[in-house]
């Protein structure tokens, strides 16, 4: 005899241990099954895009750090590409190599955090997080050598970076690169073959690839659906054309596929950094002729990079003054949430949290 149940609407967040910050969901459950869900955004909306209109191009770098605060370096990188395209600045080769090294290190750090919190959402409370934070601390130490800050780095400037890496940085980076594949092996031993993880993640949160493309989803989520779309290959920026790496793909488009793509991407990032270290050339880290107050000609540009969470784009409009007229950020975390309702409806409560964790969002970037 089927049991009659009544739908109940529950509020989850903005203060909740598994909402990755201040995300909020209104969910209607029928028994244990999600009937409908409505995400509520804006609990960290700080008006970054409006503040950009009152700051110079270099001053905005500090605000771009604080948008996706687990991937500050890539945020800087995307903004610098847009400014250079707008103002017609040719960056120094050494500065570009340093940027690539920093950005790939940041990709590893971001994926580490993504995996740690994904496992935390699965119920592995604390343990995987402690493992991933151990390696993240080492990456943050490298950042501290580069620029003196751990999280909000403000490392990059139009034309390159603001400071060359110190002598101690290179041996420290080498040790880290030698250790990192072993760390990834360790996670794989712990997590990838784990029975509980497999049962909970395989087959849950499935989305077809066409739906993902139609909903503008990008990054590891798209590659987990078997779509070979990585801007580092498809639209190479900086010197990504000069390094060789594979794009990890998975076909299933479920939560496990997203996890495994992130794990593989960390290995590829290590490869990329090795090649950058081999090819880096001496010289200035930024051209001397770039002025402090940049006055680009009037016009608009759109520059995008492959951030750790997806396509990170900056749309800048200049009116010829020292501050951008309009600065719009195409935030991958925000747009990847378009499909959230479709991904949750029909699944159980526990799968809801796992699916939400597998998207790997960052609230600073969702709300900006």
């Amino acid at each position: 005899m089927p049991i009659r149940t009544e739908p109940v609407t529950v509020n989850i967040g903005p203060h909740h241990p598994s909402t990755h910050g201040v995300f909020r969901l209104r969910v209607t459950f029928d028994g244990e099954v999600v009937v409908d869900a409505e995400p509520v955004f804006g609990y960290l909306h700080r008006g970054t895009e409006k503040l950009a209109e009152e700051r110079t191009y270099v001053q905005f770098v500090t605000l771009s750090d604080r948008m996706d605060y687990v991937a500050s370096m890539t945020n800087n990188q995307g903004f610098m590409l847009a400014v250079e395209k707008l103002a017609g600045i040719t960056p120094s080769p050494r500065g570009v190599w340093l940027r690539m090294i920093a950005a790939e290190l940041q990709r590893i750090a971001s994926h580490l955090v993504g995996i740690g919190f994904f496992l935390q959402d699965l119920g592995a409370f604390g343990t995987p997080l402690i493992y991933v934070m151990r390696e993240r601390e080492r990456i943050l130490d490298l950042f501290e050598m580069l620029c003196g800050a751990r999280i909000t780095v403000s490392y990059m400037r139009p034309g390159g970076v603001f400071m060359d890496a110190p002598q101690d940085f290179w041996p420290a980076l080498d040790t880290f690169l030698a250790d990192m594949p072993h760390y990834v092996d360790e996670y794989e031993r712990l997590i990838t073959g784990n029975e509980i993880v497999l049962v909970r993640t395989k087959g849950t949160g499935k989305v077809p690839a066409e739906t993902l493309v139609n909903a503008s989803v990008s990054g590891p989520m798209l590659r987990a659906a078997g779509l070979d779309w990585d801007l580092r290959i498809k639209d190479p920026y900086e010197y990504y054309g000069r390094v060789k790496f594979d794009v990890p793909l998975a076909r299933e488009s479920d939560n496990f596929a997203r996890y495994i793509v992130r794990i593989q991407e960390m290995r590829e990032s290590v490869k990329i950094i090795r090649q950058c270290v081999e090819q880096i050339e001496p010289g200035p880290v930024r051209p001397k002729e770039v002025p402090f107050l940049i006055r680009p000609p009037a016009g608009d540009v759109y520059a995008h990079i492959e951030g750790p969470k997806g396509e990170l784009g900056y749309y800048l409009v200049s009116d010829g003054t020292i501050a951008p007229y309009r600065c719009k950020v195409r935030a991958p975390s925000f747009i990847n949430l378009t499909l959230l309702r479709d991904m949750l409806v029909g699944w159980k409560v526990a799968d809801m949290i796992v699916t939400f964790g597998s998207i790997d969002i960052n609230m600073g970037e969702v709300d900006r």
């Binding site: 203060h15 209607t28 869900a37 503040l51 601390e137 999280i151």
Partner: protein, 211 residues
């Protein structure tokens, strides 16, 4: 005030949940707007007053010492990450900085079980009623650390249209930790300053953290 039909939050295929929650959004927005209009003044810093006749009392003094020692050695923080600073808060709880040396490794998800609220990051006006409610739900004695300049004064977002210029307009704050974000060492130093503050509390004085 317009009377509204009670909202039936039961989605049907042709009437999804987001179409039914507009009134709910409006009433929440009214709360935020009211809070924005009324919370202009800062809360004064919580002071510790011990009446003169109790200061030299051996009985009260020894009980105070015991009680404060117990309180300071097991401060349970609330697991509340708001923005960038939350990652430094998490890092301070992880193996390198190891907050559990100070008896506070257990981050509680429920405010009912927590003693310390670490406001880790920017507080927006949309979040302000939530922060206030969480603070009200915490049992006394309770303490608040404002981590980072965003929580302390608005920081880089001071000019923004949606950011609370200082969380002390919403709740009283015991310890301010500067930095953007402060390193875990700085946060731990702030926590130790809070320990010093807890040590000075007295049975006879006002309860901790009360407005």
């Amino acid at each position: 005030m317009v009377e509204h039909e009670p909202i039936a939050l039961t989605p049907t295929p042709d009437n999804p949940l987001f179409r039914q929650t507009y009134e709910l959004d409006r009433s929440e927005g009214a709360v935020i707007n009211q809070m924005r209009a009324t919370h202009i003044e800062q809360f004064p810093d919580p002071l510790i007053e011990v009446p003169a006749e109790f200061r030299r009392s051996i009985f009260v003094g020894s009980i105070d010492a015991l009680l404060n020692w117990g309180r300071k050695s097991s401060v349970f923080p609330l697991m509340m990450g708001l923005a960038c600073c939350s990652f430094e808060m998490i890092a301070s709880a992880m193996s390198r900085w190891d907050l559990s040396r100070f008896g506070m490794e257990v981050f509680r998800a429920s405010p009912r079980q927590a003693d310390l609220m670490i406001v880790s990051g920017t507080v927006t006006w949309k979040m302000a009623p939530v922060v206030r409610r969480l603070y009200d739900q915490m049992a006394e004695p309770r303490w608040v650390i404002s981590q980072g300049v965003c929580a302390t004064s608005g920081g880089p977002y001071y000019e923004s249209y949606s950011v609370v210029p200082g969380v002390n307009k919403i709740i009283p704050v015991d310890v301010y930790v500067p930095g953007c974000p402060p390193r875990p060492d700085a946060l731990i130093y702030g926590i130790m300053q809070l320990h010093e503050k807890i040590k000075r509390y007295s049975l006879a004085g006002r309860a901790a953290g009360r407005e």
